[in-house]
Symmetry: C3
Subunit: 137 residues, 3 copies
């Protein structure tokens, strides 16, 4: 059994930004030489998410509109008594989920034809990390 751990750093220009990180995960798996295993892709901050879905611009806008509807920005969250104004980013992170497991088979990401991994930043413009941890052989 072998494990490989890497970190992706982000510092988005916009407060909210979705970034396709599928190729970063592929490259890490190729470098590792691991043929069979799992890659954990997990946001290390609690105002960002990681999810698997389509690389289609219209859908990405739909997802952002939908998240704003279900977990809206609002000045009046109790969390804001701490001085923060980002409670909605925490709720969006919970809705999207902060991590996925990607299966690796014969050295490749074992994905269906349209599956892509996205980093979803909900409170950016500062340095934040995602862990990629691969376990297998």
């Amino acid at each position: 059994m072998k494990t490989v751990t890497e970190y992706l750093w982000f510092n988005t220009r916009q407060r909210r930004e979705f970034i396709n990180i599928t190729d970063k995960i592929k490259e890490m798996v190729e470098r590792s030489g691991i043929q069979e295993g799992f890659v954990l892709v997990s946001a290390m901050h609690i105002t960002a998410g990681v999810y698997v879905n389509d690389a289609e611009e219209g859908l990405i806008e739909d997802i952002q509109t939908w998240l704003e509807k279900l977990a809206p920005y609002d000045p009046n969250y109790k969390h804001h008594a701490t001085g923060e104004t980002n409670a909605d980013a925490h709720l969006k992170s919970m809705l999207v989920n902060h991590e996925v497991i990607v299966p690796v088979t014969h050295g490749f990401l074992d994905f269906g034809p349209w599956q892509q991994v996205y980093y979803a930043e909900f409170d950016g413009q500062r340095r934040k990390r995602v862990i990629l941890k691969l376990m297998g052989e």
Copy 2:
């Protein structure tokens, strides 16, 4: 360490259909001889989900009604400019989540008394896959 990878194929009659796949996972674990490990159960399409909850028909109807309320069908999603009409199925997939990890202990699914694994199809009537990937020893 050993890994086993299998695929479940679905082609549902209805556009939306929930299918209990717990026994398929049990059978795979038994065939493998693996005593301790994790099974990843992950939809390979981005308009379907996998979740763990109750095998109770009333609750399944409640879940479907609830998903329709939080991620409704609507002709006006931006994704539909591609010619698709299934943006709601993508959103439902994100809400339910597309994968679970099932623990295996002493050769059995290490579940509580009511836990069942469901495949949730939101845009069916065509061939779609779920990966079952077991890693352990």
Copy 3:
């Protein structure tokens, strides 16, 4: 490769209660001696969740208010024909998700500065379990 399996038992005073279980997971990892791996933290009941977010009381209230808004208590769920009155707890469990994977690197939980693991009880006042399953070496 090594696996360690432990169970946390809960019997909350309130019907709904959120409990920080990060230290329990840390202690388990330390006892195991495992340096590199994954810990699965998964609720074994279908009316509870496990999630990663902030240990901040205001935010925890915000999360609870938000869950009640998106998956409200209602006497009229179809599930209640079984005699249960907890369909909302099942929906809340699905929204929060019932499990997380925590990465272990150099013998420690490989978390960002604010990540904490919570057990979210939605239908307590009875004995319920969470499985902690660590796989690594």
